[in-house]
Amino acid sequence: MNAKLDSAPIGVAVRISRIDWDAMSHDEGRRLREFGLMEGIEITPLHRGSLFSRDPLALSVGRMQVIIRARQAAMIEVAPTAS
């Protein structure tokens, strides 16, 4: 079952199944790849927003933590990890 990263539950590891590269700008896509966000990579959403906002989203990729906006997260499809 695939879901979008912007609605994935916090603290549960998921695997990136698809990224809609066409929906984002060239620079956005490149920065995502520089952060190591690519198909097949395992990530864990960690924190979402503050006060009344659901933006942004902090997630862990390997040993790194990165911050992206919900808008970009909505372009990333994730699936439960195999285990």
Partner: protein
């Protein structure tokens, strides 16, 4: 090898500990300038090989790849490719990678190694990686990458000698010609795959990521608690600026008074004595007094940056900033603007979106910079009673100061909202950032940065403020008032007459002749307003012993109403009185259009805010 001193460039990802390594290698002997034509900071310094031969070191802006996403990253690419105007291509590269983040940092390292320059990889922050449960083998990493790998712990100065020896060896043994960018660079995915494979090969053992940072983040990034902690931290910061600076300010004031006394007895009465006592010591001295407060504010900001908290603050603020069309990325430049808008505006270069960046530049001067502190402190000290609010430990003076900061912030948010809907319309800004790990701030790195800030402030006091103060003193002292006249010296002088003209414009918002006089030289820098008041006060006191004995704030209390004082404070929340800020805005926006727009809208706001404050205060009987 040429006889020239070899240039070695430090290059790597953001958060790889590059600056700490640079500090450890060069010490405090650093030169900070700009690359010609662009406003990217160039940090250079000197070090020497084991046998004493000198080398020159350049710290390049942190980048993720050779494909730049910002002006900073473009400089990094141009320097390593030898395409940066006025900069020799480096003789060797030191690629700094974070030992705990090899997967990612090796991507850029692989790109750099492929350039063919003599290259050494500094496997940095190895202690933190070990603390995180990672065991790495530098020998395997070196074999896989094909270049020397030296483990370093920059903050403990470990591995530095080995690193420089390896650089020396790499330059000597270098055979192949350095190349330009490869014709067909490998794709991001291929690069990532290789980086990952190498990282895995070099990793001997690995335990899962430590949980304690996540537990800390669970509190500090909590949607409500985290936000309140951020507000609390900022509140403590502003109270601290006020409370902890009292003693050192007293020492500086004492020192200046002693100097004035010494000059008074050493020199005969005349032009020179007046210039030194009233002009130089009175004017410049009244600005230097604020060094302690500026240093405390910078210390807080540097500590927040060094610990890694600043990015958390950006995360917490992103939601609010998104509502006015900005991004959390703008929070860091704006927070820096609390110290000074000039580095703040320069820091906006990290914002990729042009309209987002322009808006951030235009509102940066609304953040209460340290140059306003002298003005605020003087007026608050003179007119706001030094009591606590209703028996609580919160001081009323500190609370007023906090209110002034808050007015600037709220004003900035409203202005941003308007600008993003009018002149700076554009798509929603993005926000993509790496979150650094928590670290203990290194005393040495914070110390060096603090010293650099103090030096910039003192240099300003010694140049811009020095010159404007002396010019003002001359304009205030001449022509001499005839003994028969009932005018005061200040009213009779050239400056006094100019001020009388300006007074007509600012009288409706409650400003008196003193203020009109202070506003003109304060165009150079806000804090000059204080030295202008001090100089005018000293000249007016003249030889009147009793008037001389009064402090500046005592004199002001006698001459200004509370409503006027409050209006003066409100004016400085908005007024764009700083030549440096206008100049940097022109440079960063490539033209006069936006700096003129900025000056115009800020003066309008300042006039309106001062007016409303004055009329309201008068209505409450404070006139």
């Amino acid at each position: 090898m040429t006889a020239a001193i070899p240039t070695i460039a430090l290059v790597g990802n953001p958060n790889a500990g590059k600056s700490s390594l640079f500090n450890a290698l060069t010490g405090a002997r650093q030169k900070i300038a700009n690359y010609p034509g662009v406003t990217v900071e160039r940090k250079a310094g000197h070090a020497s090989f084991a046998d004493g031969r000198p080398m020159s070191l350049v710290d390049l802006p942190g980048s993720y790849s050779l494909t730049p996403a910002s002006p900073d990253e473009a400089v990094t690419r141009d320097v390593v490719l030898g395409q940066q105007a006025g900069e020799r291509r480096p003789d060797a590269l030191v690629v700094v990678v974070d030992a705990a983040n090899l997967d990612n940092h090796l991507c850029f390292a692989l790109e750099l190694i492929a350039l063919g320059l003599p290259t050494v990889v500094a496997l940095n922050m190895l202690d933190l990686a070990e603390r995180d449960g990672l065991t790495l083998d530098p020998a395997i990493l070196s074999r896989e990458l094909g270049v020397p790998v030296v483990p370093t712990v920059a903050v403990r100065k470990r591995g530095l000698t080995d690193l420089l020896a390896a650089v020396d060896g790499a330059i000597l043994s270098h055979q192949t010609q350095a190349s330009a960018l490869p014709a067909s660079p490998p794709s991001d995915a291929a690069l990532h795959q290789r980086a990952k494979a190498i990282a895995r090969a070099a990793t001997l053992s690995e335990t899962p990521v430590r949980r304690w940072t996540q537990r800390v983040d669970a509190v500090l990034l909590h949607p409500v608690a985290g936000f309140l902690i951020l507000l609390g931290l900022m509140f403590v910061m502003f109270q601290g600026v006020y409370a902890w600076s009292e003693a050192p300010i007293g020492w500086i004031e004492g020192g200046i008074a002693a100097l004035q006394g010494a000059v008074d007895t050493a020199l005969p009465d005349g032009f020179l004595r007046g210039l030194i006592i009233e002009g130089i010591l009175g004017g410049v001295g009244s600005v230097i007094v604020f060094l302690p407060q500026i240093l405390i504010l910078f210390l807080f900001i540097l500590l927040l940056e060094a610990t890694g908290y600043m990015t958390r603050a950006a995360f917490l603020m992103d939601g609010i900033m998104a509502k006015v069309g900005l991004s959390g990325r703008g929070f860091i430049p704006l927070l820096s603007s609390f110290a000074c808008a000039v580095p703040g505006i320069m820091a906006t270069r990290a914002i990729p979106d042009a309209k987002d960046r322009l808006t951030t530049i235009l509102i940066a001067p609304l953040m209460t910079c340290s140059a306003r502190l002298p003005v605020y402190t003087l007026i608050i000290g003179a007119f706001i009673p030094n009591t606590n609010v209703g028996g609580s430990p919160v001081g009323l003076q500190g609370l007023v100061l906090f209110g002034l900061y808050l007015s600037g912030i709220v004003g900035a948010l409203v202005v941003a909202l308007v600008l993003r809907r009018t002149v700076a319309k554009g798509t929603a800004a993005g926000f993509m950032m790496e979150m650094p790990r928590y670290q203990w701030p290194r005393l040495r790195d914070v110390g060096i940065a603090l010293w650099q800030r103090a030096w910039i402030f003192l240099r300003r006091a010694g140049t811009i403020i020095f010159v404007t103060t002396i010019a003002l003193w001359l304009l205030l002292s001449y022509p001499k008032v005839p003994t028969a006249s009932s005018d005061s010296q200040v009213d009779y002088s050239v400056a006094g007459r100019i001020a009388s003209g300006l007074e007509v414009v600012v009288a409706p918002i409650g400003f008196n002749h003193d203020i009109a006089l202070a506003l003109i030289p304060a165009m150079a820098a806000r804090e000059v307003a204080v030295s202008a008041l001090a100089t005018a006060n000293a000249i007016d006191a003249g030889d009147d012993e009793e008037a001389m004995a009064q402090s500046l704030s005592e004199r002001l209390q006698g001459r200004w109403s509370i409503a006027t004082a409050l209006a003066f404070l409100a004016w400085f929340v908005f007024a764009p009185q700083c030549i440096s800020t206008i100049a940097i805005t022109r440079r960063e926006t490539n033209g006069w259009k936006w700096p003129l727009f900025m000056v115009g809208y800020l003066f309008l706001l300042a006039y309106a805010a001062a007016g409303i404050t004055y009329w309201t205060a008068v209505a409450f009987g404070l006139g």
